[in-house]
Symmetry: C2
């Protein structure tokens, strides 16, 4: 009898241990400005199959309204209708694109227009309710109320899998809307093309001019039953009427092409019958998409695919096993880990082919090619996090970035790149930070000298964004190039990262040159006001200047108060500039406690009240290192209370749980690091600045088979202050860890307490 | 001394024998409606580098004017200005497309607009004079008067070679106009993309929606000296301004993209210096174009390339060596041969890769892939001519057509296809005629049973152009599908061709089915009026009907008088329908002698007064076999005088020397056959109907090493009547030759006389 009871008990323990996906809440960040999506994807998957609630722009007074910003990921939690399910989504970006190949199941009279949110009955969209919605890693389920259709979605790396259950017998329509997309303009489509290869297989492509200027995505789509009839409508004119004269191309004509097309495939269905669709993507060709389709999902077993894709997530999430103070913390942690593992995205076919930046077809030899590099965000904490949790993938991401360099007509590493395009978004050349950080940490699977050459060449491309001034003058004159201070500061940090790599490589010349450049932050500091301030060509500081205003003051997405602190690579020098420890401490205290009136960021969509503490902006990236700067003042206890406050107030496990754009995982990566008790203030250094862990315990299973175990003794919501640290059983007196010290396995014990330990 | 003189004498004989290109006048057909181009190309080349004199449409009263029709090949002899030199041109088509990648050299202040013909100084175009123009096979030279620049052009299969001589020292501009194109709309561009790979190499592509719906052409362009500076203007809006914010993309920015772009590359030049450009095309990628560039022209030796490309022409033209009555005849003959050997065009990279109809990349294994199949025209005489003069190429063209079939989502052989697209122009499924003709004549290098299957599948695609009626009813009802009589007649002929192939293959079932279908011409003959006439669904003939009117009468590009004779595969049955030999003879006589008032073809751009003899339309294709029909009546002398009259009056060696569109060589092929003394009335049969040779003698060098020699004894302009024929020394009493009888070598002697020989 004992044995009989014991056995299920053991199994339930195993299940409990390994079921991490239960803690992930994909809806987190779908409200307000998180810009995450709730749909189905595998870790770093090429397909993100997710509901779009509204992305169509409306024009008013001849101008597009700004509403599209909140739809960067296609879904807003407060919307009452779903337009359909499209296959590509950014996670957390502040600029929009993608939303390719929207599918929507309907019944009854055919409606090829999406209709409006206020009147969903006017189109194919449907009302839905969150009470009928389930979002899990690699699985999304919702009931479409208007037609009572149950939608289930899962995905593999390159294939989205739809399962639609039609409760009542009727004619079912599957809409394929090729006009649908996510962007600031409805004029995004350049061309679309569809072929009905046979009665279950449809292929085609979509070419767009959006954030990515010259972008083509190919697809192959297959149904689990023969198409009974089909057709399409075209919403633009073509000049040559040869097709139209000869055929009724709108009905059962197996080739469709045009700028703006909506197609429909019709099926007879009985009650509770399912229509299943597998939808594969490729950057190469419809042939590539078809190969991906057949290879990744050879059958129609939705449950098996769901199970296997969720198992992939469980494995990735299980890399870090934590115990937390609250269930909310645990869910926030695993949801952050989930968001951190969504991108960069696999960007090649199963045979390794992909479209390169030069629009030619390349083959990734010996690595997985990735795209979606939101580098201004992700160099800070996401790629450093990968150097611990995903070193192999990070190595492949860097190889993808170096392939980008090889294909770049500008001879530059990516700035912000996606889908075979450089969109040039934001500033800096932070690829160099990602590469240097990986190299310093021993994770660069590429010829380091060649990589350094790419970094140096990038940093010397003089027509890029003010470098023609920065290189000879040591700063960018604001009268020559806007956001000049932000650019000067970020270049200086990037240059330091290049220098660190050169140093380790023994390249003295590059080390000297870029060490010198890394000092350039000093050139935009105005000692008369104690702030970074835009300087003019003639060497004078700009006269009209506000340290609080975000726009038009020589900065971008952050005011001088925040950006003045952006010298992550040389905090001691920054402290000196500001006026010593006491002044610097006061500066930081003021930043977190002063009131920043709305007027100073009202026009900046990346800075919102929700993301702010005082004048400290956590909802956007430039200050992500700031709470850790107290460590340089011997005031680690302030770092500890600040980071716990930020984790507590700016993150949650609910739809409104993100206080700003997740930015392809950077916001989440900040949380993961901080929850584990440390943070990479200056990627390119081996140091992790110590904060205050949120977890009670954590076990990090490293790729090399070793383990980092973290324990926070006496952990509680109030005990935010670190009293003592033991590293491998010995007291650790520094306020930083060293990467190479912990990556061969480490046992870290934090002793927590309710009182600040002021040494 | 004797020897010294003899040697040059022998050489001069050899040169005289082998210099056929001197007889080719590429300007022939560039005036009026020939729609030929004068520029440089090799036989069947992918590149046709030729001057465009004007192709821009102008709008008037909100409508595009029809003017573009005369610019199907980009050049009109009477124009006074040249806009530039573009790389792709149809030869002789009646619909427009291509005109890709216009290059124009200029000096002085930069003008990026082409300007107008009336005011060439308003743009980059230039005045020119025919007195400064030389057009030869594979060589074109002209002086641009406005800037005094001498232009020389030559080409290899995939690369255009420009040589510009700048007489005065100045800054030289090379304009690359990506907005320029040939089409009925200026809105043809879908997307264009340009990269400055280095200071001499530029790559890119152009995607268009013209006659070909989804078409992309890639290029690689290299200069013989470094580009000093460059820039571009964009004539449409893009939404994402990321590039514009960061860079001045219009100047020295190495990546250009947009719908409508004109680029410019600037060079310092000294007096009489040359700028040379090699410009390669690919349907695959810029990588493919670059490979084509490097492989085909590795150096900068313009004279060598010109020499070698002209040698290719000389070899092809030398396949038929003729002596003629007049120099005009000789030039007309070799110009016709030149025009016949311009298309279909090679359509693959040097490595065999090409873009297929499915828009995927394919590799031609064991054959050369061709495109530009103007089949409604060319099945009549051009492909039959290839079965004598170019059997290997014709075999490869058929393999290209069968590859098209394999890639066709419609499971159809080409109707009118070019550049990876089916444009569906005109009627019928005449691929089947081309294949059957080659098979019957032993030139099919493809599995015949598989080919027959493709032919049958094509002919049974019921949604194609009235086949849903034709197959069950035996005719197309005019109330269901327009041009119903032309379609019924041409399908019936095509079906006969299928039956012939099935017969030789021993496929009784297909033979019976398609033999039966081949009788369908009888179903649209109205015995009450003695003409083919549109029939309605209810089996009655259409009431309102004109036998003279071309449009709206159940026919297309030909009236009932002409189309009634379209039963090439069963002339005896047609004679019976018309009412016997005497009635048929009268019918033919009337056709050639009656007057057809302008009003009956005024709206049809393919029928012009220049191409007409009586009511017989030679300038368009449907009646090309008609003059030979007298042979079936025992009135061969009438065939003989008619064909000599047509050759004499409808063809010449001057710019206005073509009496209608050359239609990718069909008009020329008619001339070549007729000049040699015979014509393939029903391709798919081995019979060549005998006419009256125009040559005094001809030697045809066959690919199999054999020779057909033709001699017209007592030949003169007046001696148009054949008195007697000797075949291999024996009198030949038939009025036809048999293909297999002459293809192992033959000696044909026509004895000519001034009096008709009426047997």
């Amino acid at each position: 009898m004992k044995k009989i009871f014991l056995f299920p008990f053991i199994i339930s323990i195993i299940i409990a241990q390994t079921n991490f996906i239960q803690y992930v809440k994909p809806l987190t960040g779908t409200q307000r400005m998180g810009h995450t999506f709730p749909g189905a994807t595998v870790p770093f998957g090429m397909v993100q199959l997710s509901p779009d609630t509204d992305t169509l722009l409306y024009e008013k007074d001849g101008k597009y309204q700004k509403e599209v910003y909140q739809y960067c990921a296609g879904y807003q939690y407060e919307d009452k209708t779903i337009v359909g399910f499209s296959h590509t989504h950014f996670s957390g970006t502040g600029h929009s694109d993608l939303g390719d190949f929207l599918i929507m199941p309907t019944t009854g009279p055919l409606q090829l227009n999406p209709g409006t949110a206020d009147h969903p009955e006017s189109g194919y969209r449907s009302s839905y309710s969150h009470s009928n919605e389930i979002a899990e890693p690699a699985y999304y389920k919702v009931k479409l109320d208007d037609n009572n259709i149950t939608v289930e979605l899962t995905a593999t790396a390159r294939v989205g899998f739809h399962q639609y259950t039609f409760p009542s017998a009727d004619t079912a329509h599957i809409i394929l809307d090729l006009m649908h997309g996510i962007y600031t303009s409805n004029e995004k489509n350049v061309w679309t093309f569809v072929r009905l290869e046979n009665d279950t297989l449809v292929t085609g492509f979509r070419q767009t001019n959006g954030w990515a200027r010259t972008r083509t995505v190919y697809f192959a789509m297959t149904f689990n039953r023969p198409i009974a009839s089909y057709g399409h409508a075209r919403y633009d004119q073509s000049v040559y009427r040869g097709f139209w004269r000869k055929f009724d191309v709108t009905k059962n004509f197996p080739e469709m092409a045009g700028k703006n097309i909506r197609a429909c495939f019709n099926f007879a269905v009985n009650s509770n019958e399912k229509i299943k669709i597998k939808f594969a993507l490729s950057s190469v060709s419809t042939e590539g998409a078809t190969k991906n389709l057949i290879t990744e999902i050879p059958d129609w077993d939705f449950e098996r695919v769901k199970h296997e894709s969720q198992a992939l997530w469980n494995k990735e999430l299980g890399t870090v096993e934590i115990e937390s103070i609250t269930q909310k913390d645990k869910e926030t942690f695993y949801t952050s880990l989930y968001h951190a593992f969504l991108s960069p995205n696999i960007y090649m076919d199963v045979d390794g082919q992909y479209k390169g930046l030069d629009q030619n077809i390349h083959r990734a030899e010996g690595f997985t090619n990735y795209t979606t590099f939101s580098l201004w965000d992700t160099y800070r904490a996401l790629h450093p996090l990968f150097n611990i949790l995903q070193p192999k993938r990070n190595g492949d991401m860097i190889r993808s970035m170096l392939a980008h360099y090889d294909q770049s007509v500008h001879h530059m590493l990516p700035v912000w790149s996606h889908y075979s395009n450089e969109n040039w978004c934001m500033i800096g050349y932070h690829s160099v930070s990602v590469i240097a950080d990986a190299y310093i940490k021993g994770n660069l699977s590429y010829d380091a000298a060649k990589a350094l050459n790419a970094m140096v060449t990038t940093a010397n491309q003089r027509y890029y964004d003010g470098l023609e001034y920065y290189i000879p003058m040591g700063y960018i004159p604001e009268d020559k190039n806007s956001s000049s201070v932000s650019k000067t500061l970020e270049y200086a940090y990037d240059d330091w990262a290049i220098a660190q790599m050169a140093k380790k490589l023994g390249n003295e010349k590059v080390f000297a040159e870029f060490s010198n450049r890394s000092e350039n932050f000093k050139n935009v500091f105005d000692p008369s006001i104690g702030f970074m301030r835009p300087k003019m060509s003639d060497g004078t500081f700009r006269k009209n200047f506000s340290t609080l205003e975000t726009d038009g003051q020589g900065f971008i997405e952050g005011n001088s108060w925040n950006y003045t602190l952006y010298v992550p690579h040389n905090v001691p020098a920054l402290i000196q500039l500001i006026g010593g420890n006491r002044r610097f401490s006061q500066y930081l205290d003021s930043l977190f406690t002063m009131h920043l009136p709305d007027e100073f960021f009202a026009n900046n969509e990346d800075i919102t009240r929700e993301g702010i503490i005082g004048n400290y902006v956590h909802g956007n990236e430039p200050s992500h290192h700031v709470a850790y700067l107290y460590n340089w003042l011997g005031e680690s206890w302030k770092t500890q209370e600040r980071v716990r406050m930020i984790m507590d107030s700016k993150y949650s496990n609910t739809p409104d749980g993100l206080s700003g754009n997740d930015d392809c995982g950077q916001m989440s990566a900040w949380y993961i690091f901080s929850a584990l008790g440390f943070y990479p203030v200056a990627p390119g250094s081996e140091q992790y600045s110590i904060g205050s862990p949120l977890v009670k315990s954590a076990t990090i299973k490293l790729e090399n088979g070793k383990t980092i175990s973290i324990e926070a003794k006496n952990q509680s919501a109030k005990n935010v202050y670190v009293q003592k640290i033991l590293l491998n059983g010995k007291e650790w007196k520094e306020n930083y860890f060293i990467h190479s010290n912990i990556m061969n396995g480490a046992n870290i014990v934090f002793e927590m307490g309710a009182k600040a330990k002021k040494k």
